[in-house]
């Protein structure tokens, strides 16, 4: 069956309206899971029915940081690790935005931008953070990341990693995020649903999406191709909704606990500020961003 025999189709891929098509094909390696998370995100955007002019996406540096460049939304590609501060500024300067999404990798969010992550979660800033966790620094050549599990070989740890990795859902939960979930790239439907819930939720939403890195992480550890990692996710993951986040740490090729771990309500930073100053100053204070009581 050659390409010329096939009829040209007038039906567009449902993902395409969300992408800057002149930039495709993208730079991600064959078997990389980041594109799959983008599919889930576009599905969530479709299902949420949001006005796309009022959704902004911010990302940092790295393979996952390229997402902001490929999405056909208002987007900004910030400096390394500074996606959350930029998104915080965006959210506070324009409270009428329906949602500000931070889409970045594990190295960008938890290492270089680790401080920003914990403080945005502590303040309960109204952001949705999607952390695509591939356990390594993909773009710079496979250095050890704060999420690399013990025993995994990396370029800068040729005899295996001995540093204790971050348990990202536990970190976000302990800092006060209102919604914490972890899914893998194998669980596409669940990931899309989690992103939909995250888009609708007010407050700091943290979604960890485990993705394979076939070029660096899998190759250095002889774990096969991207699809082999997906088969591992399928085999070893267990859905435990509402699990204690202390127990959900990851080990090298060990069991994975996935699910929605935390879903609670806390006043966001803006709500808390308005309430505080209204309490102090009464009628003399005009609440900021009051028109944003929709969605």
């Amino acid at each position: 069956m050659s390409a010329t025999e096939l009829p040209v189709c007038e039906i567009e891929n449902p993902v395409m309206p969300y992408l800057r098509q002149e930039r495709l094909p993208h730079i991600w390696c064959p078997g990389c899971g980041i594109g799959t998370t983008v599919n889930c995100f576009t599905r969530a955007l479709t299902d949420s029915g949001m006005d796309l002019d009022r959704v902004a996406i911010v990302s940092g540096i790295g393979c996952t940081g390229r997402v902001a460049g490929y999405m056909n939304l208002d987007s900004f590609h910030t400096t390394h690790g500074r996606a959350i501060p930029f998104a915080t500024g965006l959210r506070l300067a324009n409270p009428d935005l329906a949602k500000v999404v931070v889409y970045s990798g594990d190295g960008d969010l938890s290492a270089i931008g680790g401080n920003h992550l914990i403080h945005a979660a502590r303040r309960n800033m109204d952001l949705m953070v999607v952390c695509v966790n591939n356990f390594t620094y993909g773009m710079t050549g496979g250095q050890v990341a704060p999420t690399t599990p013990i025993g995994a070989t990396q370029t800068t740890m040729p005899y295996g990693n001995f540093e204790n990795p971050f348990n990202l859902p536990f970190l976000a939960d302990a800092c006060g995020a209102v919604y914490v979930a972890r899914w893998t790239v194998y669980h596409v439907k669940q990931l899309a649903k989690a992103m939909l819930e995250g888009l609708k939720k007010k407050g700091f939403v943290f979604i960890e999406a485990m993705a394979p890195c076939p070029t660096l992480y899998s190759r250095r550890n002889r774990l096969g191709d991207g699809v082999d990692q997906l088969k591992y996710y399928k085999e070893k993951s267990k859905v435990v909704n509402g699990a204690d986040t202390k127990e959900v740490g990851l080990t090298f090729q060990g069991d994975i606990t996935v699910g929605k771990f935390v879903d609670r309500d806390r006043p966001t930073w803006l709500e808390a500020m308005n309430e505080h100053y209204t309490h102090h100053f009464g009628d003399r204070y005009t609440p900021y961003g009051g028109s944003h009581a929709q969605d």
Binding site: M1, S2, A3, L6, P7, V8, C9, E10, I11, E12, N13, P14, V15, M16, L19, Q21, L24, P25, H26, W28, C29, P30, G31, C32, G33, I34, G35, T36, V38, N39, C40, R43, Y186, V188, K189, A192, D225, G226, V227, L230, K231
Partner: protein, 98 residues
């Protein structure tokens, strides 16, 4: 340029943009109806792309579209295709790329 498998059997079909496929085999391994397989041919970049090996089994569930990291494949049910064709915009929605 998007191309379709033209045979009308089963409940749905897949649409594939050959030239952006990187042959990761996500769609082939996780198709719930096991109706995809690798082609014998290569695309222009030298990857084997998926083809619909058993069109009668395809339900058009679009799980391949949700998995595809390269936005190359998607599935659609025949009744949705008909609906779209009736309400179709006259100009092609995907601009041709060289």
């Amino acid at each position: 340029m998007s191309e379709a498998a033209p045979i009308k059997k089963g409940k749905g079909t897949i649409f594939l943009t050959l030239e952006v496929c990187k042959g990761c085999s996500y769609c082939i391994d996780f198709c719930p109806a096991h109706c995809l397989e690798f082609s014998r041919e290569f695309n222009r970049k030298g990857y084997h792309y998926p083809v619909l090996s058993s069109p009668e089994d395809c339900t058009g569930c679009d799980l391949c579209g949700l998995y595809c990291p390269d936005f190359a494949i998607f599935g659609m049910r025949f009744k949705d295709i008909e609906q779209r064709r009736q309400a179709a915009a006259p100009e092609p929605l995907i601009p041709a790329r060289g």
